[in-house]
Subunit: 179 residues, 4 copies
């Protein structure tokens, strides 16, 4: 961000500048929890990504990523869903832009209970039905579909980091999951 | 409801009893506004039914109907969507049971602004994306797809009765429609 | 409902007729979970009623009751809050009529996980901040304020019946409670 | 953001760096529409700020501002409400962090219909009941309380810029305002 001469890519941030920005400004994120629905709309399966953390630990996560400059929330959602689930997942974006919750991750513990070492990020979180075939790309090793019961089991919950297990709980509560 | 001997259809109400019940108890309804969404989830079209009212006037309405005894909200939604849009509409019920609003219709004017001559009804209102072909049955003469702009035009608004035009406004506001 | 002559109280149902109606029609209910909020809106305490069930067991419950004929949701909420918490509770009704969930209770087990022996009821459920003094009346023995952690503890959860413990979970999830 | 030596105020951005950041990253904002509610929760009055724009035009606006690094949404809301309405407004923050909509402002026209010359900003928008006395400070000339009808009149709508008039429409629709 030290370039003051006309800039051919005004919305572009170098890795270095992005690193700095993450220590000065809250980042806007979208977070999507892929689900399979039956014909009545009940959640039958939750899709969880399995990834290696920087420390080499296997952790569960959701589809997640930054909203770019001049990008709409919806465009960011589609971009990250396609990146993490492949081009044939056919995610169904909701008619309403209202998230099921706003997840606030901080670099140190706070009242929100959500942490992210790298940054303060404000994530708009959505439940996204997907109807197609998922083929995780990039750094995700695997996408696992499991029942809501299994996703909330202590074993799977222990594989989440940064408080994301509770986010899943909130998502299923929003879906009226009640057992 | 004057039958006290064992009743083979305990959830069944005669026309006469239903007529009476409508004058004594609020009825539970579901109301669905069918929409077409683009790949980003923006509403491109709203589906409005055109029906003849009891007075022979042509009026606009939504998919709407009673929740039966022992029927879930979701089952009632699917039943009324299929009845009003035909079996090939492929409505996508949402993961969450939370309606975009609760519409309270009263037999006489009230603070809600919504009226229904026949009854006091509490309608859970949903925006429902449909992806298939709609073929209105029963007493609906026609399903018209139109843009949100056209649906909110004074001309179309004048074809709604009982305050339903405002319900459409609320639905589109919920979808973030903003122009 | 067997009166066909002009009726001086058309919205009134005899105990007998109400008993019958409960076996033929879904009843409209409101359900309110009283909470104390701190100045930032975080839930600090949840108010749970302690009542004797018909079998003489002590059970936890929420403020809850029927919406009468020609009564608005908001009027029913205020009426039941005042009845269960006393006239000095000062409940703050929300600007929006959208419930945090729609709770469907059935007289026998169903996919909703919520049961009510007496009836099929569709309850619009709200979190209601109260700022005043609560003085439970009627058949409630006690109103207990407790932290969200305590309210979700296995011990307290075991005091709920009909699946209401999960409703509390959904309420706190809606409030972003995340620990 | 050109400081790479240890920084005593790591969350602090110089005016210059903030100017640059606004051209490279979406900013996180909160937006609050102050309302007066009656005892049933119906909106009786909407509070609109009257401010001079940079071009000296009088424009209507809401309470609005940036979320700082390491600041929660709730803390940002309280800070901006206090800044714009004074210390005696007694705003009541909601139990739920879910906004009534997510308003996306872009520096040039887009599908959201919302614009902000200075930046791309993602604003979480809330309806906030206030019960105390408001005494606008800073650069706001005046806070005007008006009925929902008046706030939606063509005259007042013409005093909004950047599409904010539609945001007010969405807020009132969320509150079930229906006339």
């Amino acid at each position: 961000m030290n370039v003051r001469t006309p800039d051919p890519n005004p919305g572009w941030l170098s890795e270095e500048d992005l690193y700095e920005a993450r220590r000065r400004l809250p980042m806007v994120y979208v977070e999507a929890i892929p689900v399979r629905l039956d014909s009545l709309g009940y959640v039958t399966d939750v899709g969880l990504l399995l990834q290696a953390s920087e420390e080499g630990q296997m952790v569960r996560s959701f589809v997640s990523g930054r909203v770019m400059y001049r990008e709409t929330i919806r465009a960011a959602l589609i971009r990250h869903l396609e990146k993490d689930l492949g081009p044939l997942a056919f995610p169904q974006l909701p008619a309403s832009p209202i998230p099921f919750t706003v997840a606030e991750y901080f670099p140190s513990p706070s009242e929100t209970g959500l942490t992210d070492d790298r940054q303060h990020c404000v994530a708009l979180a959505y439940l996204i039905p997907v109807t197609g075939e998922c083929d995780p790309r990039q750094d995700a090793l695997e996408l696992t579909w499991m029942s809501p019961e299994d996703a909330l089991s202590p074993e799977v919950q222990s594989e989440f980091t940064g408080g994301r297990g509770n986010l899943l709980r909130q998502a299923l509560a929003h879906a009226g999951w009640c057992r």
